[in-house]
Amino acid sequence: MPAHRSAYVLVVRVMGPDSAPGPAVPWQKVLWEHQPYPDNYVDQRFLEELRRNEGIRQYHYWAVVREAGFVGQQLSCVAIFITLWLYMEQGLLSPEKLLLTTLVCALLGYGLHQALTFQVESGCEPRTHLADLQSATLFLSFTFGFSPVLKTLTESVSTDTVYAMSAVMLLAHLVSFPYAQPSPPGSLSLNAALFASVCLASRLPGALHTFAMLSCALLVFALWPCLLQKLRENAPNQFIGVCVGVCLGGVGGLGSLSPGGAVLLALALGSVTLLCPLLLVRLQKQKDNIQGPWDEAEIHEDLSHFLH
């Protein structure tokens, strides 16, 4: 009888984590040692290592707006391009004028680009002027040579198909644009934009129109982001001003042709630039991430000690 009682008492002691104080052996969070606790036992240190919303960023409204302005700017660029195309199609703009304007803008932009580069540093391997000239010659000759072929490409395709394809491609361009680092252009975004411009350009009445349109597309989609990147790095205030200017220009240009389009564009810009950051900041407060020792291990390698 006494032996049974002591065994009974012992069992009660072991099984009671929240009522009676446990036995003298402290509980360790290991499984390789034989402990008098069951395997799924945890003491009052449960969930001590829970971390909530670690590494969460606090967004400030106007900083986000400033970044979103870049997205809006790109949207306006697309709108400007479409406007120019509409002008050419309706015959309101002659290809020579467009070509001339494009060339002048390109030269101006190139000058600005070089000025900004020299201003900051002249350290790491700038592209020589010769290389740039080579590239420019290559583009122009290639486009000029292929423009008759490009013109006939979509002759037999129906207009609706062409418009639909262009729209899809421009959307893809906007979605896949590398907003963080536009200077080496993302392949998909640039290619989609060029594809759309070829589709649209082949609808124009003449080969010269096609050539002009393609040069314009090259300027707007390939060269303009490089300049913007430089501006963003070196002159942030002017960058904001340029963005705003481009947005206004887009709305205005579209408005001269179709007011409905302008209204739509303005709405889109407003929502992207002003509404979405608001939503982001508001919703950020609802964020509830938990991290703890149950997450997968992440290896943070510090490679800097290899460099010494």
Partner: protein
């Protein structure tokens, strides 16, 4: 233990004598080949056996004695028993037969038990008496030694000698690891013992034998004449062949363009194939074994059939003005084909089947192909006076065999439809280039690149120039794809039609070349020569005598005959499976669906 004795049917009624044959190693059986009659001198018998053994390579030995007692020969029993002491052997068979009874009696004497043979005979007699009184049960108790049961298997000696057991083993298997089966050894023994069958009981030599030749010497005058005539014929053929081979090996013909052309023309291939055959036929050595003999015979028969069919064709062709009719029909037919092609191209240059083609490219391609057709028509018009002559001389080639005529026809079809082949190649190359370019530029569109080392697609950061030009080219290729694809499709279909027709011709040539007519004829007329196995029929199963079985040949089935004796040819077979073919068509690779195997020599 059951002892099997293969006994030739021709010796069933032979006079008493010695049994000569072979013990089959590894199995409990013996093959009796002949019976040597009295009188004989044992020394001469041994000498003769050694001589024959040296000539044939078969381990002959005296198996035992055979007695068919007639009225004049009584008291032979003890004489026969004493013979066992003269000829040394493992076991001695004493086979005897009574006239009027069907069954044989056989006693097997082992050397250890030689002395007890007489005892056993006496016991047996006693046992028989007991059996009559006591019944069956007492019989067994009396015999202390094991009684060997003997089975006599009667075989038709001539048939077995000429027969070949299938599947043929050409001595490839190691005799130590898997010994040939009993039946195979028996067949080999009888077939190799030809030198034994030269001496007969009617000859004037020291020994008188009975075997299958005793029933009458078989000889055919035609076969003998043929054998005599074949030697000078072979010499003539080999001399002609050597001249022909010398002509073929003139250095002019070994230059690359001619050699390439010769490998493509099926007439030249067929010529070389037949030359190989003639070389096989005209070798002066006689056939060494069954396979060799069958191959030579098959080649000869197929060649003769080929020539006969060719002569029939010539007879039909050269009478009733068939050749001028054909020649006159040829040029209008070619014109008609060209006109159809032109109409097809005009249709393609418009809006074929409502599809939208790129006008500029359409016009370019259409004009290019039209010009080709124009060239080809002029070429045909140029050749038209010579066509009749060509047909006349070409038809003469059928005297070498129908296969030559068919190969020539196939070559002519290939030459006449050469323009279709050209169109197909242009269309296919253009399409293939386009598909290749498109797939590569599509990868560039997405910013990826093909890693040749790792054979996978990797991401890649391209330069601005590369991206720009790549996108332009991609757009151009994409929009021009439907036009090119349509031209490719049309010309591929045309080419496939021509290829199909040529394939039919080649298949029939191949069939004539390889069909084993001789083997089939042998199977029909002399079925015992191609044996798949044997069947046994019970002849006599009386208690007290041994069991007698009749062995008959089970001839080979017809489709096995065809499969085994097909001549290996440069057969045309489809090189690719259907799935590979469709994939190649889709990608634009050039397809050559019929592949020629090089001539196999065993």
């Amino acid at each position: 233990m059951v002892l099997k004795i293969f006994f030739p049917q021709c010796c069933n009624r032979a006079d008493s004598g010695l049994l000569v044959g072979r013990w089959i190693t590894g199995h409990d059986s013996a093959v009796v080949l002949a019976v040597i009659h009295y009188p004989f001198i044992p020394g001469q018998v041994k000498q003769y056996l050694q001589q024959v053994q040296a000539q044939s390579g078969v381990e002959l030995s005296v198996l035992g004695s055979w007695s068919l007692p007639t009225e004049s020969q009584e008291g032979m029993e003890s004489f026969l028993r004493d013979l066992s002491t003269i000829f040394p052997q493992e076991r001695w068979l004493q086979v005897s037969r009574q006239i009027g009874k069907t069954g044989f009696n056989c006693d097997v004497l082992n050397p250890a038990q030689n002395g007890r043979a007489a005892q056993r005979e006496a016991k047996k007699k006693k046992g028989e008496e007991d059996e009559k009184s006591d019944g069956y049960a007492g019989h067994k108790g009396n015999n202390n030694e094991e009684e060997e049961k003997v089975i006599f298997i009667h075989y038709e000696q001539r048939n077995v000698m000429l027969s070949q057991l299938h599947p043929i083993e050409n001595g490839v298997s190691d005799p130590k690891t898997d010994a040939p089966s009993e039946l195979r050894q028996m067949f080999q023994t009888v077939a190799s013992s030809q030198p034994l069958f030269f001496l007969d009981k009617y000859d004037d030599g020291p020994l008188k034998l009975t075997h299958w030749q005793s029933e009458g010497r078989e000889a055919s005058i035609i076969a003998e004449l043929f054998k005599q005539a074949s030697v000078p014929l072979c010499r003539l053929i080999s001399w002609l062949l050597s001249i022909w081979v010398w002509v073929c090996n003139i250095w002019v013909f070994s230059l690359y363009p001619l050699r390439f052309l010769a490998s493509k023309l099926s007439t030249c291939v067929q010529l070389s194939y037949r030359t190989e055959h003639m070389k096989t036929l005209s070798s002066p050595k006689p056939a060494t074994d069954h396979t060799d003999f069958m191959r030579k015979a098959t080649i000869m028969v197929s060649f003769l059939v080929d020539v006969a069919l060719g002569v029939l064709l010539i007879l039909w062709l050269y009478r009733d003005n068939h050749i001028p009719m054909l020649a006159n029909a040829l040029v209008p037919a070619a014109d008609h084909v060209a006109k159809e092609l032109e109409e097809l191209l005009q249709w393609l240059m418009g809006a074929p089947a409502g599809l939208k083609m790129n006008r500029a490219l359409d016009q370019v391609l259409g004009r290019f192909f039209l010009y080709h057709i124009h060239l080809w028509i002029s070429y045909i018009r140029l050749m038209s006076p010579f066509i009749e002559g060509i047909l006349w001389y070409g038809g003469l080639s059928a005297c070498f065999g129908l296969t030559f005529a068919l190969s020539l026809f196939s070559d002519m079809v290939a030459l006449l439809t050469f323009h279709i082949y050209c169109f197909y190649v242009y269309g296919a190359r253009l399409y293939c280039l386009k598909i290749y370019g498109l797939s590569s530029l599509w990868r560039l569109f997405r910013g990826k690149k093909w890693n040749v080392l790792r054979q996978r697609v990797d991401s890649c950061s391209y330069d601005l120039d590369q991206l720009f030009i790549g996108t332009l080219l991609f757009t151009i290729l994409l929009f021009l794809l439907p036009t090119t694809a349509l031209y490719y499709l049309v010309f591929t279909l045309l080419r496939l039609v021509v290829v199909l027709f040529q394939g039919v011709l080649h298949l029939s040539v191949d069939f004539i070349n390889s069909f084993p007519l001789f083997a089939l004829g042998l199977r029909v007329c002399r079925p015992y020569r191609l044996a798949e196995g044997v069947k046994f029929r019970v002849l006599c199963d009386e208690p007290g005598t041994a069991l007698h079985l009749q062995m008959e040949m089970n001839p080979l089935k017809f489709n096995t005959v065809v499969q085994t004796y097909r001549t290996p040819t440069y057969s045309c077979y489809p090189k690719d499976s259907w799935a590979t073919l469709v994939k190649k068509l889709f990608v634009g690779e050039l397809i050559y669906p019929w592949k020629h195997k090089s001539t196999k020599t065993d």
